[in-house]
């Protein structure tokens, strides 16, 4: 087994070929052999035959497989690039083949729930921190991989695929994971920073999606830059408090994956979360918007989970709470905005 296990150490695995997964696979393929995993047989065939994944072009050297075992046995470093809704399933699927020597880096900006069997979020009364999992926590819970890391930062797939300059953060408690991520991804156009506060970085990436929906809504209402500045700064405060309550450090919220990503997403019409907010403000209904989107807007699920967490703790997060009411309780956006304008935030900065 061992000869097969360590056969080709330069082969890098990528799990998931959504827009971000495809971009990362292409970037990795600049320097290394890449093996990608896709669930769907047609997608695998499409990559191997046409070098495209759902229409997006893929580096010619990239090979696809449908077999988790093959991927785990041929790669020592694996990137998980799957949406949070599928993350637990994929982790479970890979779990029998992952070994403690694997380095796993994920690029998912979402949260999962660890609920008692048969229960849904609405039935759980006390949604405490133990029940909320970041993706690295999912990996550690479901698999034997311990050297895990995450990839976060202002990385809009469209811009990356055009080769525009950008940077990202690799966060891990293990230096070797950060170094490996930097070795594999760093290029003239792509800078890679390291951070040891993996929970803080993951949470920054997750929480900023909430603010991005709100930013989209402001834009949809036709409000201007003053309003956006207000939102970004208040959103930042909310992110810091939430992140701290969930175990992240304040510092990471000020990094590339925090404020960097927040500003980018709040200004980007390419962002899915931003688009959801924008279309809501234009009067569309949530189910209809979600139906028409190709890929998930992680922020929706995040709002739901954070709302549950707020109820179980004595924290207040006015933007998230009001957004929840807009998304799920038919509150009009204008009313939510009114509410926020009257909210007694009288201290500008209270966390430094």
């Amino acid at each position: 087994m061992s000869s097969r296990t360590f056969s080709d150490s330069s082969l890098i695995g990528v799990v998931g070929v959504g827009s971000f997964g495809t971009v990362i696979a292409n970037m990795l393929a600049e320097k290394n052999q890449v093996l990608v995993y896709a669930r769907n047989a047609e997608v695998v065939a499409e990559i191997n035959e046409n070098h495209t994944a759902q229409g997006k072009s893929m580096h010619e050297s990239i090979v696809a497989t449908q077999d988790p075992q093959q991927l785990c046995e041929s790669c020592q470093t694996i990137f998980f690039m799957v949406p949070s809704s599928a993350f637990q399933d994929v982790a479970r699927k890979f779990s029998p083949f992952l070994q403690p020597y694997h380095l796993v880096i994920h690029g998912t900006k979402g949260l999962c729930l660890d609920l008692p069997e048969g229960q849904s979020l609405d039935e759980v009364k006390n949604l405490d921190r133990n029940r909320i999992l970041t993706m690295s926590e999912v990996l550690q819970k479901e698999t034997v991989a311990v050297r895990v890391g995450c990839l976060a930062g202002p990385n809009i797939a469209k811009e990356l695929s055009k080769g525009q300059p950008a940077a990202t953060v690799i966060a891990s408690k293990f230096n070797e994971v950060i170094l490996e991520g930097q070795r594999l991804l760093r290029s003239e156009k792509f800078q890679v920073y390291g951070n040891s506060d993996i929970i803080g970085v993951e949470l920054s990436g997750v929480l900023k999606n909430i603010i991005a929906i709100a930013a989209g809504a402001l834009a949809g209402l036709g409000l201007g830059e003053n309003a956006r500045g207000l939102l970004i700064s208040r959103g930042m405060v909310e992110m810091v408090h939430l992140s701290r309550a969930l175990g992240g450090s304040v510092k990471s919220a000020f990094g590339l994956a925090g404020v960097g990503d927040l500003v980018t997403t709040c200004n980007s019409v390419n962002s899915r979360n931003f688009t959801v907010g924008y279309r809501l403000a234009k009067g569309e209904k949530l189910p209809q918007i979600l139906d028409e989107m190709e890929e998930v807007a992680e922020g929706i699920n995040t709002v739901k989970i954070i709302k549950g967490f707020l109820e179980a703790s004595d924290l207040r997060a006015p933007i998230t709470e009001n957004l929840y009411r807009v998304l799920f309780e038919d509150l009009e956006i204008e009313e939510a905005l009114q509410f926020l304008m009257k909210y007694p935030f009288n201290v500008d900065v209270d966390f430094v």
Binding site: S9, E142, V146, K173, N175
Partner: protein, 565 residues
């Protein structure tokens, strides 16, 4: 089924004492000490990145601190030549830095020489002096003597001193994964990590190891215990090596870690109290001292590096909890705890085990009073905290066999990465704490203390902990019915936790609630001058000492039971 306490005596797993790793180590003591000293030097040179300037600074700091220690905090056990030794170190340091004619190479040689003299001195001091004859003697004293005392106390009448009605095992109940422990001890190396509440623990664990038929474990005991000659004799006989908490310098700490690591690699079963010292608050340790724990991980990696991948080179971590109704030192422990957390105050290492008289008094008290103790042995884990099966193979969370050496591999081979191992040490520490909670056995006394304290806290919700503890005791009372209801709630929740495998309960906890409460009230801190909890004439529940109540209540901290109030 879990009531089955181990009552019979096990056969020794290694009948011939010559096979005991600790005996082998004692035989090779001289070479071993030398090896420790050499490896410690290597580590320190690596830590100072072979930079002579940094090494020089470390040596100077060490010398300075040692001088200060000798002056400010001398102990009986300290050797007489200490002053002379450090004086010589000072001279050599001065010589190396002031002599202009020395070449860089020569200067380096001097510093290394000084380092060597210090590490050999330290390793010699740390090393244990195990003597089998003494061990045998102590073991019989403990079992025989204490059994006599026990019978004298429990069976009425003078002649009872010769009675065999009760044995030590009636008093100290051993439960849990003892068979696995015995089995793995013949195959690999055990690192046992018990909770630490009382100075009695060292002797207790030593005795339990012998009851289970295991060869003696080596462990680090505070050098202060060696101040008293009778204790020194005990400790040496049990295979203890010496840990001096006064010495915090890099050279000492590295030598100590090297000693522990080398002993584990040698195959000596070891014992660490991972909490460092006794739990001052009465809580199960949640923050562990990771220094010694890291040596288990290092030893494991070293074995893999040397190609010892089989079970003979595998290290098993076995958590153990010791449960008491009564901790003799509780009043001073909790006082320390409150003064440390309560205010910034200079805190001096002192303990009530300062004279032989006090120890004997304690032992007599302990063995003559009928307060039971249970020891639960947890499932063995590898150094990453994965459970192991009967073959000693590590299992992942889904029960699949995995190879522990893979944790130390990168790029296909075992590599040294100290940052990685530091992180692994944290992970192992968290796993041990988790296991402590899981194998902790709830006693009736824990239940009543916890419930009473939480009720009082809930009634005074505006007060912080320190004000709460300063409440005048005569003003505090709880009506029995109210108390009983609350106990029921906590008890129900404990049963739920037990069904989830998150805690264990003692057999006496299966009686009716009334009986449990009565048992608990009788037993909680039973021999303190001021009782933490009693029932007064009106039938109300009252306390005579809030801080003691807090101490015993803390045993159930960490299960989120306080949310019930």
């Amino acid at each position: 089924m879990e009531e089955k306490y181990i009552k019979h005596k096990y056969d020794p797993i290694l009948p011939s004492k010559d096979e005991w790793p600790v005996v082998k180590l004692a035989r090779e003591r001289k070479e071993f000490v030398k090896k420790v000293s050499e490896n410690a030097q290597g580590r320190i040179l690596k830590l100072t990145s072979n930079n002579m300037e940094i090494l020089k600074e470390e040596l100077e700091t060490t010398r300075y601190r040692e001088k200060l220690r000798i002056k400010q905090n001398p102990w009986v056990v300290d050797p007489d030549d200490e002053g002379a030794f450090w004086g010589k170190v000072k001279e050599s340091l001065l010589h190396a830095s002031s002599e202009t004619s020395l070449s860089k190479k020569q200067r380096e040689a001097i510093y290394k020489e000084i380092l060597e003299s210090i590490t050999s001195r330290y390793s010699e001091e740390i090393a244990s002096n195990f003597k089998h004859q003494h061990y045998k003697f102590i073991r019989s004293v403990v079992t025989f003597g204490f059994a006599r005392l026990l019978n004298a106390a429990r069976v009425k009448g003078f002649r009872s001193i010769f009675s065999n009605q009760y044995t030590l095992q009636d008093k100290i109940q051993i439960t849990g994964e003892t068979d696995q422990l015995r089995d793995l001890a013949t195959k690999g190396t055990i690192v046992m990590v018990p909770t630490h509440f009382s100075n009695l623990d060292s002797i207790l664990i030593g005795w339990i190891i012998s009851v289970l038929g295991l060869p003696p474990f080596i462990y680090g005991a505070g050098l202060n215990l060696f101040n008293i000659s009778i204790f020194a004799y005990f400790m040496n006989a049990l295979g203890a090596y010496k840990v001096d908490r006064r010495k915090k310098n890099l050279v000492y700490l590295e030598t100590l870690k090297t000693y522990s690591k080398e002993a584990i690699q040698f195959g000596c079963h070891s014992l660490f109290f991972p909490g460092g010292t006794r739990s001052r608050s009465g809580m199960i340790e949640s923050k562990l001292k990771l220094g010694l724990l890291s040596t288990a991980i290092e030893a494991q990696r070293n074995n893999y590096q040397e190609g010892i991948t089989g079970i003979s080179g595998k290290i098993f971590v076995v958590p153990v909890t010791i449960n008491y109704h009564f901790v003799l030192e509780a009043p001073s422990l909790i006082r320390d705890h409150l003064s440390i957390t309560g205010q910034e105050r200079y805190y001096k290492e002192n303990d009530e085990f300062s004279t032989s008289y006090k120890i004997s008094k304690f032992l007599v008290k302990f063995f003559t009073k009928g307060s039971d103790i249970s020891v639960s042995v947890g499932r063995a884990m590898d150094v990453l905290g994965n459970y192991v099966n009967e073959k000693g193979e590590s299992l992942d969370q889904h029960g699949r066999v995995i190879d522990t050496s893979h944790y130390f591999r990168s790029g296909g081979k075992v590599t040294v990465d100290s940052q990685r191992e530091e992180e692994y040490t944290h992970m192992l520490g968290r796993r041990i704490v988790e296991e402590f909670h899981r194998i902790n056995r709830v006693f009736s006394s824990h239940l009543v203390a916890f419930t009473a304290f939480e009720l009082i806290k809930a009634k005074n919700s505006k007060l912080d902990l320190f004000d709460l503890i300063r409440l005048p005791e005569e003003e505090i009372f709880i009506e029995y019915e109210e108390f009983k209801d609350a106990c029921q709630r906590v008890y129900d929740q404990i049963l739920i936790l037990r069904d989830q495998g998150l805690i264990k309960i003692a057999p006496h906890m299966k009686r009716s609630l009334e009986e449990i409460i009565a048992h608990g009230l009788d037993n909680v801190g039973m021999y303190h001058a001021k009782r933490p909890l009693i029932r007064n004439k009106k039938g109300q529940i009252v306390t005579e000492d809030m801080s003691l109540l807090y101490f015993y209540h803390n045993r159930l901290h960490g299960y989120e039971l306080e949310n019930l109030f």
